[in-house]
């Protein structure tokens, strides 16, 4: 560990230890004189702030654990006892509760920084991946931590999220029962969640150690995204960045303290102050705010995904990758070589969409015969042939045998149910972060020199915010709607409202309602989320012309100062 050519310390005790185990030499090398780019802005504070939040959470968490009881009969009351009877317990709990939110705030800003300034690019890919792993561990820890107070949101949040795993084909139920240790979220679930909630922060700590280790091999990125060329481009970490980090941390702590002391429950949900009741589901289950964008993605997939859609997507992806990896520059995508894949794919998309999105048409009697009329005829025609409905002989229609046959065909035709699709989309949205270094092939790191990338990263950030809003709202919330067709029927619909079910259906045939509801909002921005990673970033990586990079960090920094001085 570099002890061979270390410098001697003046303090004899320090020197005695350091000569046997050079911990002070390492600390000085990594946190004292460590050469750090001189041009950091305040975005570079959030790694240190996140580290501070992790320590805060571990310290308050251990003390809370001393007062907490992991038992469904006692958990809620033990938390209330912490709030009312334990000396300073309210403060520790509010620090811990809001600490989770502020840990996520710090980490989300840290991640934005990483994307905006291209910190994930070579040679920092592993550093970035370790960061995504920390993020995943944080999500798991925060989720199981929210279960421990055993309020209504604890129980039902846990029920909804653990039920996600039941979407896994074949072994889903086995996985869920193994997670629960029973047939519902109950005492065995609570006790194991407590054990894991105690363990995971230390796992996070270990991965943070690896994250920092990798950082100290490659060195920090910086707002210009160019590597330091020599000592004139860097500053020793201490005192320059220890001071800057401390200043940023204090500002962050002011905001944190404001929430702890003046709005401790603002970021939580009031339903979690109702003890858990397995017989009553809260009217509107929402996760904590930091999960909302992912929750919106989960809920956005309301349709099952059949082979037509999968094969269509596969063909498009194949053509796109083939075109992207082709050496010939600037060749049009709209040529025969690629269209032989894309056009059939479009055809498959239409078939798949008809089957997946359009509900079975209402049957109408024409001349006493059951028939479909107008466009419904075409749609049901497509459905008849392309869902292989024609395989079912007419002689057995209407019997249970025909139904069983239909179910068997559907099982083969539709590999991904809506529920599984939602789960895949949610986990996929995070998995994309892991492969981000390979999706973005552009050699320039910082968005400062990539005008298009900059716009799209900002749009992406806004769209994640909108997804968060969509995740917080009921799925069927209608933002805008209009009624086309028969005016009288529209009027009746508007006054009929929701309650009257039967009338509602009979009137609907004469009218068409066009509306924008929350699910559609979430679907649109989920689409953009995936398009950002899978289409926009690869395209920009290949075609975006970057602005000229400065020669070096110190030239960029000093040049600016000179201009300001003139």
């Amino acid at each position: 560990m570099g002890s061979a050519n270390r410098e001697k310390f003046d303090n004899t005790v320090v020197e005695w230890i350091d000569s046997r185990m050079p911990i002070f030499t390492i600390l000085n090398k990594e946190y004292g004189v460590f050469p750090t780019p001189r041009n950091f802005n305040y975005f570079w504070n959030f790694g240190a702030i996140a580290m501070f939040m992790l320590m805060t959470m571990i310290i308050t968490g251990i003390i809370l654990a001393m007062h907490y009881t992991a038992d469904t009969k006692l958990a809620f009351d033990s938390v209330e006892r912490i709030m009312r009877d334990v000396n300073g317990g309210w403060l520790l709990r509010y620090i811990h509760m809001n600490g989770a939110s502020f840990f996520f705030i710090a980490v989300y800003i840290h991640m934005f920084r990483g994307i905006y300034y291209g910190s994930y690019k070579k040679p920092r890919e592993l550093l970035w991946i370790l960061g995504v792993i920390i993020f995943l561990l944080m999500m798991a820890t925060a989720f199981i931590g929210y279960v421990l107070p055993w309020g209504q949101m604890s129980l039902w949040g846990a029920t909804v999220i653990t039920n996600l795993f039941s979407a896994v084909p074949f072994v889903g139920n086995w996985i869920v029962e193994t997670l629960w240790g029973g047939y519902s979220v109950d005492n065995p679930t609570l006790t194991r969640f407590f054990a894991l909630h105690f363990l995971l922060p230390f796992v996070i700590f270990a991965v943070v150690f690896l994250h920092v280790w990798a950082l100290h091999v490659s060195g920090s990125n910086n707002p210009l995204g160019i590597e330091p060329k020599g000592p004139q481009d860097t500053l020793p970490f201490n005192p320059y960045y220890t001071a800057k980090d401390t200043f940023g941390l204090v500002v962050f702590m002011v905001a944190y303290a404001f929430f702890i002391f003046f709005a401790p429950d603002f970021l939580g949900h009031p339903d979690n102050y109702i003890p858990a009741d397995p017989l009553v589901t809260p009217a509107h289950i929402v996760p904590e705010w930091y999960f909302l964008p992912f929750y919106a993605i989960l809920r956005a997939v309301t349709f099952s995904i059949n082979w037509y859609l999968i094969i269509g997507a596969g063909l498009c992806a194949y053509a796109f990758i083939k075109w992207m990896t082709k050496n010939k520059e600037r060749e049009s995508f709209f040529v025969k070589e690629y269209m032989v894949f894309v056009l059939p794919a479009l055809f498959l998309f239409v078939l798949g969409a008809v089957i997946a999105f359009i509900p079975v048409s209402e049957q109408q009697f024409v001349d006493g015969e059951l028939q479909y009329v107008g466009i419904a005829r075409i749609i049901e025609g497509i459905r008849y042939y392309f869902t292989f409905d024609f395989l079912i002989p007419d002689s057995i229609r209407g019997t249970t045998e025909a139904v069983e046959m239909r179910v068997a065909i559907d099982a083969l035709l539709i590999p991904i149910s809506a529920k599984l699709g939602g789960v895949l989309a949610m986990f996929g949205s995070i998995a994309l972060l892991i492969v981000l270094p390979w999706l973005d092939s552009h050699p320039v790191r910082s968005a400062r020199f990539r005008p298009l990338f900059r716009i799209f990263v900002l749009l992406f950030t806004v769209s994640v915010g909108i997804l968060g809003y969509a995740g917080s709202q009921p799925a069927d919330k209608v933002y805008w709607s209009t009624c086309l067709g028969d005016a009288v029927a529209c009027e009746a619909l508007a006054h009929g409202g929701h309650g009257a079910g039967a009338e509602h259906h009979s009137d609907a045939s004469a009218t068409t309602i066009i509306k924008l509801d929350n699910t559609m909002l979430a679907q649109a921005f989920t689409g953009f989320y995936f398009a950002f990673f899978l289409i926009i970033i690869p395209l920009l990586g290949r075609f975006e012309k970057a602005r000229a990079l400065p020669y070096s960090i110190h030239e960029a920094v000093l040049g600016k100062e000179q201009r300001a001085g003139v």
Binding site: W156, T159, V160, I161, T162, N163, L164, E177, T178, L179, W180, G181, G182, Y183, S184, D186, P188, R192, P278, L279, V280, T281, A283, H284, I285, R299, T302, S304, V360, T400, A402, V403, R406, V407, S417, A418, K419, G422, P474, A475, D476, G501, H504, H505
Partner: protein
């Protein structure tokens, strides 16, 4: 590294001319395989310990007196930590459930498959939405029962009909029918 090469040479002479590996390779593979089997024997009980314990499994049967439920009303009982909905259906509700074209359903089940023959007025289902496990509303006549007069799950908007079948919304399956039998006309045993 060098040690491996030395012994490797010795063993190639002793055993065979082929490049099928040395005695040391075999020992290493055998040891690793033995260790993997041992690990398997350890992992099995560890995972088993996370599965439902015997006392949890023991709560798997309940007997319910349903004689007190008047026509058109429902009761809820707990079974395996989950609510079970028992609805005493009206003639109209039964007819609505039977009139549905099974082909048009997401989870294709006829009403006959979901009730006991001769006891069509009793519908017994697990009261857990098959989407993500919320408890649907509709047990009280004043609840929002959705557009099909069954149950409405307010979490993500799934609507169930008077046979507990999914008709609208994201849930993939009908409400589960738990295993149950009639002990006599007014008592059922669930589980």
């Amino acid at each position: 590294m060098s040690a491996e090469i030395q012994t490797g040479n010795d063993n190639t002479h002793a055993c065979c001319e082929c490049d099928c590996g040395t005695r040391r390779d075999f020992m290493q593979l055998a040891a690793a395989a033995f260790g993997a089997v041992g690990l398997g024997f350890f992992v099995k009980p560890v995972i088993d310990s996370l599965r439902p314990a015997k006392d949890t499994q023991a709560l798997a049967t309940v007997e319910v007196d349903i004689g007190s439920v008047p026509e058109g009303e429902s009761m809820t009982v707990m079974w395996r930590g989950k609510p079970v909905f028992i609805r005493h259906r009206t003639r109209k509700e039964i007819e609505m459930a039977q009139a549905v074209d099974v082909q048009s359903l997401t989870d294709k089940q006829s009403d006959e498959e979901r009730v006991k023959k001769g006891k069509e007025q009793w519908l017994v289902t697990v009261g857990v939405c098959t989407h993500l496990g919320c408890i649907p509303q509709g047990q009280k006549p004043t609840d929002n029962r959705g557009g099909y007069d069954g149950w409405f799950c307010s979490c993500h908007g799934s609507e169930y009909d008077t046979s507990g079948r999914i008709r609208k919304g994201p849930a993939p399956k009908n409400l589960d029918v738990p295993p149950y039998e009639f002990v006599n006309d007014t008592t059922i045993k669930i589980g």
